[in-house]
Symmetry: C2
Subunit: 141 residues, 2 copies
DNA sequence: TATAAACTTGACTATTTTAGTATGGTATAT
DNA sequence: ATATACCATACTAAAATAGTCAAGTTTATA
């Protein structure tokens, strides 16, 4: 089980904006240089973030992206769902007729994975962008 | 982010043993039929579980596997580490010299992923096999 | 108004991981 | 004897990941 880069990069990039946000929007080029993420890949990610109203864009020279809300109001869970980084502990949920593993009933471990998902989602619901840029992280890149 | 089948199947199979355990060891064939998991794949998984002393094997006709400890003593985290289902939220830990993304310092989101890992591991440390076979799950396959 | 800097879109692809199969054994209870 | 188990290594199809490539459009500013 591992987190994909899409989710991680999205959070990193938005944290970067939260940190360097001012009058001017933050350009993807700057984020790319500071965070070491491919510019082209960032463009893909920000396209999704924009569609989901996490950021707004300013076009043209000296343009870039701005957060639509304050960092406190942007939860990690919001970011993850925007870039479709979702927690899938078990693959048997869609086939409602057949249940887990093609058996008629739910598998013995079903509740366990449900609980785990709940746990993780709670964690991401409690954390927001400002948690990342304040405090201990101030000396980070 | 999703759980691989290896970890899920290992837990399912062991829960199956915990449920049907008696005088005789439980055969992989039975587990395969009850849980709908490929026999050959189960063999691979059980090879790892045996190496890590989660189960012991009884060879020959009417042979099978038995848990080495009582279900209460077998934590989900033990099972996961045995089959190498590990939580990897971030890929930058190995390269201690370079830090995240090849930058000199830890990335701004590093603590977040660490916290998440801690959270998930705690969850798996608290849960054991007997949690799965007792109570609400009794009517499960 | 030229143009560089920035965003937009869609298609494409190499690599890695996953989720198993296939093959060919060895051991032992009955 | 032999069927029923376990053991080990190698192989592979399919999916996901982590991007790249190409070809634009838009707009601030010199």
């Amino acid at each position: 089980m591992k987190l994909s880069t899409k989710g991680r990069y999205a959070v990193m990039a938005l944290a970067d904006i939260a940190k360097f946000d001012g009058e001017r929007p933050v350009s993807l080029r700057d984020i790319s240089l500071r965070q070491g993420i491919s510019l082209l890949y960032l463009e893909q990610i920000f396209s999704m973030l924009k569609k989901n109203q996490i950021v707004t864009s300013v076009r043209g020279s000296n343009g870039g992206y701005k957060l639509t809300k304050s960092p406190e109001q942007i939860k990690i869970s919001n970011i993850f769902s925007a870039v479709q980084e979702n927690i899938k502990t078990v693959g048997c949920k869609k086939e409602s007729k057949k249940g887990c593993n093609g058996k008629s009933a739910k598998c013995i471990t079903h509740n366990l994975w449900d609980e785990l998902e709940l746990h993780i989602n709670e964690f991401f619901n409690k954390k927001n962008l400002s948690d990342l840029v304040k405090g201990k992280n101030e000396n980070r890149v």
